[in-house]
């Protein structure tokens, strides 16, 4: 398999206002530092790391919403120019347009692609069915439960057929049952469509359950600490894979890796907050 995405020694530095100082000082702040890895075509990569380590920043860079301070990001061997419909982003909060119905939201990206109305509706219906929400076409976001909203957001990203799907903790705000259902559904969709997926999460269980490979990041400034090839392959989706010993073992490995990082980052935050 060829590389779909390549991070070449990417760093991102923010200049932020220093709110502690009266004199409106500016501070440099390294969010991610020398990130270097690649993702293969059709791969499902999960990315875990402590809060604030730069996971979302990494995704923004990939989405073309911000530019790296140094280094380069390549997609299909070409550097990223800006946002584009070849990559679909699912944001942590369901970023649905509240004034559009479920259908309208799914069609949104298609409109930007200038696909004719009729075809648009057809495609949208297809993806609505794919995420199991046929019959909810005309609901507004506020009339949908959290899980449904996130499924619409996923359908929207799938609808304009991006090669790469970037997902930033999409299931974080959901309750456990819905989350597990959606995880299973996502795997089904991935198997059906063979997209390249980068999936950010806080949850170790989630990372192990979903990822072919799992990238563990260090705390701030974030770099890739380790890449783990996930030993669990048999994906019988209706089985309680999470209760198998293999799962427990993979989970434990990542737990250990993350533990030091989380402790480190929490100590850092507590120091900052009481200051």
């Amino acid at each position: 398999m060829t590389d779909k995405i390549q991070f070449n020694h990417v760093s991102k530095v923010f200049t932020i206002r220093d709110s502690n100082e009266r004199k409106n000082g500016i501070k440099e702040f390294t969010a991610i530092n020398n990130v270097h890895f690649s993702v293969k075509v059709g791969e499902f990569l999960t990315l875990v790391g402590p809060s604030g380590c730069g996971k979302s920043t990494l995704l923004d860079l990939l989405g073309g919403l911000t530019k790296p301070t140094s280094g380069q990001i390549l997609i299909d061997g070409k550097p990223i120019k800006g946002p584009g419909l070849d990559r679909g982003i699912v944001f942590q909060q369901y970023a649905l347009f509240p004034w559009k119905t479920a259908m309208g939201n799914i069609e949104f990206g298609l409109e930007a692609k200038e696909i004719p109305k009729k075809e648009r509706t057809e495609i949208a219906r297809h993806f609505l069915a794919l995420v199991g929400l046929s019959g909810f076409e005309n609901r507004y976001p506020h009339e949908l439960s959290g899980g449904m909203k996130q499924r619409i957001a996923i359908a929207r990203s799938l609808a304009y057929e991006p090669d790469v799907l970037l997902m930033d903790e999409p299931f974080a705000a959901l309750d456990a049952q819905t989350r597990e259902t959606l995880q299973t559904e996502l795997l089904r969709i991935w198997e059906k469509t063979k997209k390249t997926i980068i999936f950010i999460t806080h949850g170790i269980d989630e990372a192990v359950y979903l990822g072919e490979r799992i990238a563990v990041m260090t705390s701030r400034p974030g770099t890739i600490k380790q890449m783990i090839q996930n030993p669990i392959h048999s994906r019988n989706l209706d089985e309680d894979i999470r209760s198998t010993p293999g799962f427990a073992q993979a989970r434990h490995q990542i737990w250990d890796l993350l533990r030091e990082e989380v402790h480190q980052s929490q100590a850092f935050e507590r120091k900052n907050e009481t200051a």
């Binding site: 946002p83 509240p98 506020h142």
Partner: protein, 275 residues
């Protein structure tokens, strides 16, 4: 001010509440009773000499006066004159305020530069400018409509500016990630997201338009409800004066009702668009 209504209505159960199915009818009945009691007091108080009957005639006499004006067609003429002025001033304020607000909100520099000037104008009581408008624009329709525009413009303008500036960043990022350009972003995201807040401004302007117009019509007009009131007062036609006041109250109610209906329609995608 992007106001998202997050709260829950607390209906503290009254002791011994009546079965629900009659509730609606009961409510109407009770409210009618309250109204009747008020009208009865209005009827009786002057007749019993509690207030001076000359200056506060009983309701029946006011109703008679109202009927007289209505039958003669005078009331209709005055009403029409007022509502036309109010609507044209209000409409022009909308036509000016919204586009201007969108532009100012969109360009941070414009907002920065104009902010103090707008604040100053907003806090200038419109009626203080009535003499100026008369001096500059004369006593005809122009000055009356101009003062209505002035009074209506600032709530609309400032709400529009705020609406644009407070569009959820997440939605903007989301739209950008789908490859929308600046123009499309404006039409497809900024504009629809701003509508509810803009409408708050429009509703505020609605009542301002009537308030100010009444005052303007009291000075130098030949028709309109404000003129009716001041004219009847000067001519000791006190019941007719009250009839004019009642008509203005009704006009206010109708305008408010219309605006609330439109608002509900336009923001049906919002959780609680409260009136």
């Amino acid at each position: 001010m992007a106001n998202v209504n997050k709260s829950v209505t607390v209906t503290i159960p009254a002791p011994g509440r009546i079965p629900f199915s009659f509730h609606w009818l009961q409510k109407l009945l009770k409210q009618t009773v309250v109204m009747m009691v008020l009208l009865f007091l209005w009827e009786v108080a002057p007749r019993m000499g509690l207030v001076d009957q000359t200056f506060f005639p009983p309701f029946s006499i006011v109703a008679e006066g109202w009927w007289g004006l209505a039958v003669s067609g005078d009331l209709y003429d005055h009403f029409l004159a007022s509502i036309l002025r109010s609507l044209s001033g209000f409409g022009l304020a909308i036509l000016i305020g919204i586009p201007l607000g969108l532009v100012i909100g969109w360009y941070p520099l414009a907002n920065e530069l104009l902010n103090p000037v707008l604040e100053l104008f907003r806090n200038t009581a419109a009626l203080a400018l009535l003499p100026v408008f008369i001096l500059l624009l004369g006593i005809g329709e122009t000055s009356k409509i101009a003062i209505v525009i002035f009074a209506c413009l600032f709530p609309i303008l400032l709400n529009t500016i705020n609406a644009v500036r407070n569009v959820d960043l997440l939605l903007i990022r989301s739209a950008k990630s789908m490859g929308l350009g600046s123009t499309q972003l404006f039409y497809k995201v900024i504009l629809p997201a701003s509508i509810p807040t803009i409408f708050t401004g429009i509703r505020m302007s609605g009542s301002a338009s009537i308030l100010v117009l009444i005052a303007a019509e009291m000075v130098g007009a030949k028709e309109g409800l404000g003129y009716l009131i001041s004219y009847t007062q000067m001519n000791f036609q006190i019941p007719e004066m009250y009839a004019g006041i009642i008509t203005i109250a009704l006009l206010g109610l109708i305008l408010n009702f219309m605006l609330v209906s439109i608002e509900k329609k336009l923001s049906k995608w919002k959780e609680n668009a409260n009136g």
